[in-house]
Subunit: 554 residues, 2 copies
């Protein structure tokens, strides 16, 4: 069938671009590295919506560098849509006049540069998203016209193997290719036979073997050496006061030190509370090295996560009952599906933050850094569309006195969303503040709203060295604010706590001190950690865990 031109503009334009690119694409869709810049100049047009696979961990770094070398007389005003922008080359595009607008989820080390670029007018911010939100928009109003992706290997037909670090590749390729977009892949190696096919060849337009392997960041490796007694106290409070209290089996842990601490306390303090088999049996996490002792001790049945973790490849392959492994024997974690699970299939999210305001809104944004929140908003919110029941979810919903004000005489559960923080963080900066720095950032960076990571109405518990605020048990906003003051220590927020009010909260079980939970501060020592160093984690793994060089001091 010949389609009326009126309805076929996108495909016609794609055909034109691919015709211009034809001289640079050889057999098996292969492109010589030297031809990547002219290839990009052939397939990209000024103003295009463009994705460079910028994941949480793996990066299409060679393609990003090549894009910086195109003729900016021809290619400019690109609208970049990508999960993460952690590489200098991602931001160079704006300085070089090639890109103009950015929609993203996580910036990591580039947060300050983004804020600066926005102030100077070098970069127009679309929005900060959570990953799944951005992925959804790829299919509707932020569809990449061209995507520059990365994979471990391609075969001679252009099939791709993304293996242990699959991450965002499937969702980027599907959104791009099924809207007649163009997909260009950098791979570490072109081979005759792939271990398995992760992306079919007919979804890919061009493949380049990059001069060096793609950049891969070990973002979820926490050195147990650096865990403090303060964090251990928080971990004990959380395990006894929340994990045990609610019997929470399906959990997500963030990347912070508190999560690592809790993971290392499971086989020790957790076992002393008789929690094995009763909590953390199903986890949505990357393969955290600090989970190794708990896995070895049989705490966790299933782990599915958004990505991989450098050094954990062999360990994961050797524990196939726990991790999700393909027929070829290597892991495939799909970030999109993992966050679907993280949103709907879990009973608890626990993570940290930089600042919490008097109502419980929290953010990691500062006045001069557009950091983004990655997966936290999706994981750390109540999934209102959830309809299946677990004990943990139902208990939290039943004790939530504000429920009747929201839905009348109708029962419903609630996800546990836990913030674990010390009242003063790095450089003695207070965690509890009267106003989030996010407000100043909104002003500086001309944002429509202050970038809040987790809103107060989603937070059910705050854990500090002062104890636990059970916000889900608060009958009113006033009680909630009082409970937050009670755990806020000697910050400006905490100093407003009224002893009489705090006493009433303790009597009502809304605020619990370590003593109320039967936990002695002096028991919170590093002796409780199942492993005190990465070297001990390697030992726990039977030598299967292979930490990246920068974490090795032996």
């Amino acid at each position: 069938m010949t389609v009326d031109k009126k309805w076929n503009a996108i495909a016609a334009d794609t055909d034109e671009r691919m015709a211009a690119a034809a001289p640079f694409i050889g057999k098996g869709k292969e492109v010589h590295p030297d031809n990547v810049v002219p290839l990009l100049e052939a397939v990209i047009r000024a103003g295009d919506c463009l994705n460079i696979e910028g994941n949480n961990q793996k990066q299409a770094d060679f393609l990003a560098e090549c894009l910086n070398k195109v003729d900016k007389g021809k290619i400019h005003d690109l609208h970049m849509v990508q999960s993460s922008v952690p590489l200098a080359s991602h931001l160079d595009l704006f300085e070089n006049g090639i890109a103009k607008k950015l929609d993203f989820a996580y910036a990591g080390p580039m947060g300050a540069r983004i804020a600066k670029f926005i102030r100077e007018g070098t970069l127009e911010l679309g929005a900060i998203h959570t990953y799944l939100e951005l992925f959804g928009r790829y299919f509707l109003d932020l569809t990449p016209r061209v995507s520059l992706i990365c994979a471990y290997e391609a075969d001679r037909e252009g099939n791709l193997y993304t293996g242990f670090n699959t991450e965002d590749t499937p969702v980027i390729v599907e959104a791009t290719k099924f809207k007649k977009g163009i997909v260009i892949a950098q791979v570490n190696k072109i081979v005759d036979k792939l271990p398995r096919v992760d992306i079919p060849a007919d979804w890919v337009d061009a493949v380049v073997e990059s001069p060096k392997p793609f950049f891969l960041e070990p973002l979820f490796t926490r050195d147990p050496n650096l865990i403090t007694e303060g964090q251990i106290l928080l971990g004990m409070l959380a395990l006894k006061g929340i994990y045990k209290e609610y019997g929470t089996t399906r959990v997500n842990h963030g990347a912070g030190f508190l999560a690592a601490t809790i993971e290392l306390l499971l086989p020790t303090y957790g076992a002393s509370l008789d929690l094995k088999g009763k909590i953390c049996t199903h986890m949505m996490i990357n393969p955290h090295p600090t989970m190794i002792p708990a896995i070895e001790e049989g705490w966790t049945e299933v782990i599915y996560g958004p990505g991989g973790e450098v050094g954990m490849e062999e360990y994961v392959v050797a524990r196939p009952d726990v991790f999700c492994i393909g027929a070829d024997g290597t892991m495939r974690n799909n970030r999109a599906y993992s966050h679907v699970l993280g949103h709907y299939g879990l009973d608890m999210f626990i993570g940290g933050t930089l600042q919490i305001d008097p109502w419980g809104n929290s953010s990691t944004a500062t006045a001069s850094r557009v950091a983004g929140f990655g997966g936290a908003p999706n994981l750390g919110c109540d999934a209102k569309g959830r309809r299946h029941v677990t004990g943990s979810w139902l208990k939290c919903g039943k004790e939530f006195p504000q429920m009747e004000g929201q839905i009348g005489r109708m029962p419903r559960g609630k996800k546990l969303v836990v913030q674990g923080v010390e009242t003063f963080g790095d450089k003695r900066a207070p965690t509890f503040v009267e106003e989030l720095d996010a407000w100043k950032l909104a002003e500086n960076a001309k944002l429509d709203l202050p970038p809040v990571m987790i809103y107060g109405d989603d937070v059910t518990h705050i854990v500090t060295e002062e104890g636990i605020a059970y916000l889900s048990r608060c009958p009113s906003m006033e009680a909630r604010m009082a409970a937050i003051r009670a755990v806020a220590g000697v910050t400006e927020v905490g100093l407003k706590a009224k002893p009489e009010e705090t006493k009433r909260l303790r009597e009502a079980g809304i605020f619990k001190t370590p003593a109320d939970l039967g936990i002695k501060r002096e028991d919170a020592t590093r002796d409780l950690l199942a492993a005190k160093s990465l070297r001990e984690l390697v030992a726990w793994s039977g030598g299967l865990y292979n930490p990246p060089a920068r974490f090795r001091n032996w």
Copy 2:
């Protein structure tokens, strides 16, 4: 590497099963239809978690029938996990003693039989889910051990083409295969060369060419002939009082007649309100035939949806700028990604329901039917993890006076969730009731919670022939209940409305009658429909739309 047996139970078990299946699987993974029953007996074990691809539309019906023929002495107590159970064969499994437990999202015509089976102890209900919630759990705690899927075609290696009706296949296969599960596909035809690869061969274990093409249900076809003037009035109210009021560009429409009516009013009444290009430019829907006139008139830039629609194949292919089309020229809609978009990337969901309670909770459950809700809970809830801003979302959030009680002095947007209902539905049953039938069903079917489709705190607007209740503008639960009474007509709920209170709500803009909106009831005639019959839709499509025989009366 040889993996310690202790950690390799699943793969070892899979190997055993596949060894037993080997005699039935030929070259290219092909299985003769006569060998499917022994194949299933080889690969399935009693107590397995099993998926039969039961989608919203396409069904692996041949494999479902074969499963009913296995030796139930060997295979019993299966735990079925699947989106939809609309076929008799799905339920026969329980009657035949082969299956025991069910986790699902949508039952359609089987709702009454499920309720009966639960009462009789023939079926143990896990939970009713929304699609995306169930998909998420496939990766954690409801992973199918064996999945019986369907596709249009396979090639000689076992690659699959799911084409225009891709639906759930990708997410089922990925969850199953990457946990060492077994994937068996029924296809309509085995061919030498596929139009494209939707599922790579190494993700599939066996392929059978079924004796007849898979069953496919045209679930989203609404005959304009059956649209009433009452529905047209509701459509006019919604378009002027909500779509226009909020300038809502990114919308999901449910499958009901109200959605079809609104779609057919766009080129007529919508145009008279000068709304072209201002609303419904981006839609997350199946390819609804009733969208044809609006598409032809250039209202909608992009449509992405959860599935296909029988008869719309040629039309969709001829409008590639609007729909998501692969390089081969046929559509691929992936239900999982579509619902991610539907949750996070839209500003409005509009749908109908059977019953609404005084607090605004709604359900399509009745006392004796476990119907399930499909995608509605996911689409019809506020996406709390959303962080990007649109005008529509921000406006609804800013006018929501209860926001401060939830998150303090912090702005946030809100998704428009609209219920459009007549105060009395089929057989004059009242839509507004003091207590949802869901409560009786919960008792009858031993559910933990009454199955609510959309909770009251997510609903922002209710539209009836009495007018619009702007629930998002209500300062309290009392005001919300009064606004619901105001639109509830002469139902038991509506009869409790107090004239003085209703008057105050009108003054506050919380309740608007048709007259308040400048809409005359007598103008709501069928003349406003852009097409009054399926035949006229065919004409609008230039003959490209090909309605299924059962809808043709010419």
